[in-house]
Amino acid sequence: MKTPFTKVSRLSQLLVSSGFRLTVTIGLLGFGLYDLPISWAKGRVVKHALKSPEQGREAAGYYEGLIGNADPGAGALEQCLVGQPTDWVHFADSGVSQLVTHDVVQFILSPNVSRSLFGKDFTTNEYRLRDRPTSLTKPANTVRVALLGASMDMGWGVTTDDTYENRLEDWLNQQARARGDNRHFEILNFAVAAYSPTQRLATYRRRVRKFKPDFVIYATTLLDSRLTEIHLADSLSNGVDLSEFDYLTSVVEEAGYDPAHLKRDARGKWVDKPKFKAWLEPKRAEINRIVLAELAKSCQEDGVPLASVIIPRAGRNDLQHLRQEGVELQIAAARASGVTTWDLTDSFDAEDPSKLSVAVWDDHPNTRGHELIFQDLARHLIADPLGRSFGLSGQESAPSSQPTSGPNE
């Protein structure tokens, strides 16, 4: 009698045949190597998932802990097993920043840093900017642009000259020379790794204003909600006075916040992290919306135009159909504050995202990634009326999309 079990038995016989095995192996290899067209969104998502290492998710369980080594202090073992180079460190441990735990910004870049991080030069100037040397006083004939952002914009894992910010600066000056414009364009990079929207707002109020910018670019990513969560938890743990940012104090004063959710165990592990996250989750987007509104207000008071850009990461959540909701939310928040937004999240769509990250375990964009972000940003500047602030007429040709660096350099 033929039963479902005899069918299962035949299927298992097929699965063990060497011909089937070889065919599937060849298929897997082809799927892994072939660049799928952009229109195959779901296929690209599946491929990215198959090629992404196991990290970044909050999967729990005995075996996840045993194999994943997600514990603090497992760094040395992780380096041996997964393959992080020995000089790969977290930003906080890299020796390029200083803690100011009493202040809302929590940490700042150290001045005049010049060292190699992961084989790339990491430099800061005397004003603690991850940028070329500058002066506090704006030189004559200079159009000054301030960039606020986090690690992507700071250029984590790329050299100072390779950041999209400095590429844009060079291109703007090249365009100016070509059209006989004697103005100099200077973009000052105020971005600091892991800076949340509130830290960026504080940076504008305390530092950017002193440099008298003519334009402000506020860079965001889909990770901003996470950064808001980390920043608020750290600020509350460190007893920071948040009264300057009443939207944060009002959130904390709301029912449901329990300081016990911030406690850590003897190994430094944040025990009730899921509870804190669950409490803050419905409020994160609203906090980020208010930050942008506050920044727009401050810029308006200073008479400085403001635009926001949404920068892509080279990771799973920024893939085409997964990012849509988050991007729409950010565009709506910017629109509500009357801020022009340039959505650059499609910058990586034409290429394999796994070739655009600085490392397997780190989805910050590499040199090629920064190149693509710069090209997309330049295209938006050419097309947008706000580009006139940069001396652009709208007739310029967009920068070439030919790669000037290899994949994963």
Binding site: M1, T3, P4, F5, T6, V16, S18, R21, L22, V24, T25, I26, L28, L29, G32, L33, V45, V46, H48, A49, L50, K51, S52, P53, E54, R57, E58, A59, A60, G61, Y62, Y63, E64, G65, L66, I67, N69, D71, G73, A74, A76, L77, C80, L81, V82, G83, R267, P274, K277, A278, R316, S354, V360
Partner: protein, 472 residues
């Protein structure tokens, strides 16, 4: 080996054959047997003595296995499977396999052990490799020494392990490289127990080569969470079947393991939701299923680890047997992590059952089953301590093993009273439907238990189940 052959005299070739003197003998005197020194071929043949028929050389089969292995290595590289250590192990195998095939039979195990040392040094660095090797040599040396009776050796090793655990817990051994603990732990934490068990029950002396090859297992360095390899099974499985068949089975296991790892990634990145996102029956079902399917990584790694050993002639049992199709708790226990089940049967169940054999059978079965689950719970904490650095004991952990153990306990009693059932293909349709229903019931029960095991607390788990059932 001494060989004789016909050799021309050295002086004859120099002088030619013109004058026939004492130095220039007649042609019939020019050749004579000479005694030759031991040749390399002779040495090889000597070392190759005892080569079983299952280990006959087959260059074509080796080449085809090697080519497919190279293919799998490229797939692992393209998909960045399991990272650096796995890739190093694969490259080591690709390099070592042809050499392993060429060396005489008696040198095969030492060659594989040497490859394991090379891979360990490559992955963890000299400092860790040397310290692990010295520590392991000390522990295995103590286990093997004939100067002390077995009970004293076992007592000293147990006291040493507990002492190390205490010292490590209080950071008393800060000078030891951080990677030493998990690497030494994975090598010794269970295998030393099984080795001591075999030393107690063995009739003859166990060879040092077998001991070294048992503790230095090449794929162990990339998969620290490793199947609990039984010493006797490992030893007896060496070229137990024809090498061509064994290698084919190994490659099949590696292929299956890689597909498990890729499926795991799909579940991990695309399908798994957070427990806090459970709102309603559908999301509860998705969470329960995906959280359980995370085990694919364990089964994938175990398949690959055993597959690699097959390439070197070790014919080993399956690590898992279609565990998603278990139809009862005892069946589940038999199908998932077979090596653990065998370890427990050998070292806990049988000894306890034997001690209770004079009691009624249900009592003996119950006592042995309870002992197995208490030991399993404690040894999982022991494993967590060496691999992660902390015991990981929690209420949910205790509940998981307690409930699973109780279910198996009941099932064992029922099974002991039941007559053997007919083979599935011979059952009627009703019986098959009932069988399918029991499989579905087991999936539901195990996924629920698994979600409890994964939850930070019972309250969190109860909250998630409540949200799932109540719809918000």
């Amino acid at each position: 080996m001494i060989e004789t052959s016909i050799h021309p005299r050295q002086s004859d070739s120099a002088t030619g054959s013109q004058g026939r003197s004492r130095h220039n003998p007649a042609p019939h005197q020019q050749y004579q047997p000479v005694v030759e020194r031991e040749s390399a071929i002779g040495w090889y043949k000597g070392m190759d003595q005892g080569r079983p028929e299952t280990a006959l050389k087959n260059p074509v089969a080796l080449l085809s296995a090697w080519a497919y292995l190279a293919f799998l290595t490229v797939v692992a590289h393209v998909y960045r499977l399991e990272g650096r250590a796995f890739e190093i192990v694969l490259w080591t195998i690709l390099g070592a396999l042809p050499i392993y095939e060429l060396v005489p039979f008696k040198l095969k195990k030492p060659t594989l052990s040497l490859a394991a040392i090379v891979a360990m040094t490559w992955i963890y660095g000299r400092e860790t490799a040397i310290s692990v090797l010295l520590f392991g040599a000390g522990a295995v040396g103590l286990a093997r020494t004939g100067r002390l009776v077995w009970q004293i050796r076992a007592g000293v090793l147990a006291a040493g392990a507990i002492g190390l655990a205490v010292a490590k817990s209080f950071d008393g051994l800060w000078m030891v490289p951080p990677t030493f603990w998990p690497v030494a732990g994975t090598m010794l934490m269970f295998r030393l127990m099984l080795y001591m068990y075999e030393l107690k029950h063995a009739k003859g002396k166990e060879s040092l080569t077998d001991a070294v090859s048992y503790f230095l297992i090449l794929p162990n360095w990339c998969f620290l969470h490793f199947p609990v390899m039984d010493y006797r099974t490992f030893q007896r499985g060496f070229y137990a079947k024809d090498i061509v068949v064994t290698r084919r089975r190994g490659l099949q296991m590696m292929f299956v393991g890689m597909t498990h790892l890729l499926c795991y990634r799909l579940v991990y990145h695309e399908l798994l939701i957070r427990p806090q996102d459970v709102k309603g029956l559908a999301t509860l079902g998705v969470y329960l299923a995906c959280n359980y399917l995370l085990y694919l990584r364990v089964s994938g790694q175990f398949h690959i680890a055993c597959g690699i050993l097959h390439l070197f002639g070790h014919h080993l049992p399956d690590t898992h047997n279609k565990y998603l199709l278990a139809h009862s708790f005892t069946d589940y226990w038999r199908r998932i992590n077979i090596y653990w089940k065998d370890f427990m049967v050998k070292t806990v169940f049988n000894p306890v059952f034997f001690r209770l054999r004079k009691r009624p059978q249900p009592v003996a079965l119950a006592g042995a089953t309870v002992a197995v689950f208490v030991a399993t719970w404690a040894l999982h904490a022991w494993q967590s301590f060496w691999l992660r650095g902390h015991w990981g004991l929690s209420l949910t952990d205790a509940l998981f093993w307690g409930i699973l153990g109780s279910m198996v306990l009941v099932n064992v009693q029922v099974d002991a009273r039941r007559k053997p059932s007919a083979k599935m293909a011979n059952r009627g349709l009703i019986s098959q439907i009932r069988y399918l229903a029991s499989i579905c019931g087991m999936v539901l029960a195990i996924t629920l238990l698994w979600s409890l095991w994964s939850s930070p607390s019972v309250a969190d788990w109860a909250g998630m189940i409540h949200r799932g059932l109540s719809g918000w």
